[in-house]
């Protein structure tokens, strides 16, 4: 007859160590006993972690695109004032720069200053001849721009340089204007300073230019017509001769990186304040930017609200699916729990083991969910740039559908969970005489803990 022998067992203990059992291993075995359901649960967990971020990421990305589009179309402003001479022009430039820099900081970047006077009435003569074109008698403006060189390509000659001028002013004009007037490089012309007054001002064309790019916002925001472009000193000499004031202007462009979607309303408010301050100084701020930024902000908020709803719908849907599958897995382990309870395991330890198994699956899903989140972030960042910025209305049907499905699931879930939730964990079931003492076939009785836990999870 054999006798239990510790020494015999000791000899084999090391050999079978790997096949032993720990609380953790038992927990894992229990949670993965239905491999299909475990994989589905794992996928649900990954989806729960990663999917709800998608709409939010799309919203953020779309917001950036919408802001860029807003600033590209409406992102400039011009401040104008009447000036009588160069000193008042310089003062205007300094004051406006100081105010704008102080109030708006890096949100705006300077686009240069300009001055414009006119109309001058051409043309009594061109090179001593009367031109034949009908346009020759048009009123034209004389202009100065301190940043012209950076926005044009010189076609012929050069741009007028500042410095003491002679009796004939050096003038540049666009090739298109020259063609319209029938003028060429080096042509001289004279103009009336006021209608009906003897011509007292003459110029010579020293340069012809054309815009470098039609997309250059300079052409949208500079209010000068840049018909007869003069150097600064020549322009103010003309102004002195003409004894009239000119319109001076300063242009600024919004800097997208410095404004950002979140700062849009702040910048809009600051622009409104600057506009008010300039108004009290007989200066005028002309820009659609504050209105555009406010409109952008309103649209962005609407989009984010809709996407947040969509995100919540996705989260609830994924969470509901997770809870349903988790409930199924917990159900599958009911007979095992009954056995352990019958063997004297404390109920709390039994449940702890079941839930720890699910937590293990969740832990494994975490890094994958994170990677998924990053992938979605990459996709979401690229998506809106391919087309137009998204609007709230683009997502309303999907958001409504997801929310409705999530609410539907929430309504159905308790019923499904209750129906699916299995035999209660009662060790006495193991001894049911009519059932061959198997809890695996025991009558289905509601497990008191299994339904509230998932419902509470969804509620949370």
């Amino acid at each position: 007859m054999r006798t239990p022998s510790a020494s015999v067992a000791d000899g084999r203990a090391d050999r079978v160590q790997a096949r032993g059992l720990s609380w953790t291993r038992l927990s894992w075995l229990q949670s993965t006993q239905r491999r299909g359901a475990a994989v589905v649960l794992w996928l649900c967990l990954v989806a729960t972690l990663a999917l709800p971020a998608l709409p939010v990421l799309i919203g953020v990305s779309s917001g950036q695109l919408a802001l860029a589009q807003t600033l590209a179309s409406d992102g400039g402003l011009a401040v104008e004032q009447r000036v009588s001479d160069q000193a008042s022009f310089d003062l205007f430039e300094r004051d406006v720069d100081h105010l704008v820099t102080e109030r708006l900081g890096p949100a705006l970047v300077s686009g240069g200053a300009y001055a414009s006077a006119g109309p001058l009435h051409l043309v009594l003569s061109v090179n001593g001849q009367f031109p034949s074109t009908a346009a020759a008698r048009m009123g034209m403006t004389a202009d100065y721009s301190d940043s012209l060189a950076s926005h044009v390509s010189v076609v012929a000659g050069q741009l007028p340089e500042d410095g003491p001028g002679g009796a004939v002013a050096a003038v540049a004009m666009s090739q298109a204007t020259a063609d319209q007037l029938g003028l060429q490089l080096s042509d001289e012309f004279c103009a009336e300073l006021s209608a009906g007054v003897e011509p007292a001002w003459c110029g010579r064309i020293v340069g012809l230019w054309k815009p470098r790019s039609s997309d250059d916002p300079f052409w949208r925001w500079s209010r000068t017509r840049l018909e007869l472009t003069l150097a600064k000193s020549a322009f103010f000499d003309l102004l002195k001769q003409r004894r009239s004031a000119a319109t001076a202007g300063r242009v600024y462009w919004a800097r997208p990186g410095a404004i950002g979607e979140d700062r849009a309303p702040t910048v809009a408010a600051a622009l409104d304040r600057v506009s008010g301050e300039l108004g009290t100084q007989s200066r005028q701020l002309d820009s659609p930017l504050p209105t555009s930024l406010e409109r952008f902000d309103a649209q962005r908020r609407a989009l984010l609200s809709t996407l947040a709803l969509l995100s919540a719908g996705l989260l609830l849907t994924a969470l509901s699916a997770t809870v349903l599958v988790a409930t199924r897995l917990l159900d599958a382990a009911v007979p095992d729990r009954a056995v352990l309870l019958a063997r004297g395991w404390p109920r709390r330890r039994v449940w702890g083991m079941s839930l720890a198994g699910l937590a293990g699956l969740a832990l494994l899903a975490l890094p994958v969910g994170l990677v998924g989140w990053l992938l979605l972030a990459a996709v979401a960042t690229g998506w809106p740039t391919a087309g137009q910025a998204l609007r709230a209305s683009d997502f309303q049907p999907a958001g409504t559908a997801f929310l409705a499905s999530a609410v539907g699931l929430l309504i159905v879930l308790p019923w499904v969970a209750a129906r699916g939730t299995s035999p209660g964990v009662d060790p006495a079931d193991l001894t049911h005489p009519s059932l061959g003492t198997s809890a695996r076939h025991a009558p289905r009785r509601r497990e008191p803990g299994a339904v509230p836990i998932p419902i509470a999870l969804v509620g949370a």
């Binding site: 032993g20 609380w23 056995v339 352990l340 063997r343 330890r349 001894t431 695996r440």
Partner: protein, 192 residues
């Protein structure tokens, strides 16, 4: 009655006292402790008390995980039990590889895993041929003697009486006869 003794059900009336544990007045937590430390139970269908996805060894280890303890000690006890009931080289087998008599032997190992004071076996020899049943009872007797464990066996096989110290004949739930056979039952108090 045996499920009441096993602490699986609470008595609805009367008094049941096992080794000082009044089973009618136990709290849930006390009942768990009682099941864990005082009794080991072998079900009529022994597979009912086993975990089908675990190996033979793991099934014996599972009840021990209810309390903390050194893994090596648990392993030593489990292997010793398995050795004594004939599973020397089959600790890693799956339950599907076991015959019905082996399943019953494993159920006994599992019931004895936590070294209870009392082993309860419901219809221990049911479904076994007489040879297998006799070998089982004989081996069990040795194991119980070595571990100083008392046993209460419900059986319809009259030959089992040759291996026990006290017989309670029950008919329709009533104890008709109590026969003491020397040596007398050990220090187990059983009051019905």
């Amino acid at each position: 009655m045996i499920t009441i003794l096993a602490g699986l059900r609470a008595p609805t009336q009367g008094r049941v006292v096992v080794a000082g544990w009044d089973l009618a007045t136990l709290t849930g937590s006390q009942r768990e402790t009682y099941r864990r430390r005082m009794v080991g139970f072998v079900w009529q269908d022994p597979s009912g008390g086993l975990l089908p996805r675990l190996t033979v060894l793991q099934n014996v280890l599972a009840p021990m995980l209810a309390e903390s303890g050194a893994e090596r000690d648990r392993l030593r006890i489990a292997l010793s039990l398995l050795e004594s009931l004939g599973f020397g080289r089959r600790a890693g087998d799956q339950l599907s590889q076991l015959t019905p008599p082996e399943i019953r032997r494993l159920a006994i190992c599992t019931a004895l895993a936590n070294r209870p004071q009392l082993l309860l076996a419901d219809d221990l020899t049911a479904g076994l041929d007489s040879d297998a049943a006799r070998r089982l009872v004989s081996d069990l007797e040795v194991v119980l003697a070595a571990s100083r464990t008392s046993a209460l066996i419900v059986t319809h096989d009259r030959w089992v009486r040759r291996h026990v110290h006290r017989i309670v004949r029950i008919h329709d739930g009533l104890a008709l006869e109590v026969l003491d056979e020397p040596p007398a039952a050990r220090d187990l108090e059983l009051a019905l």
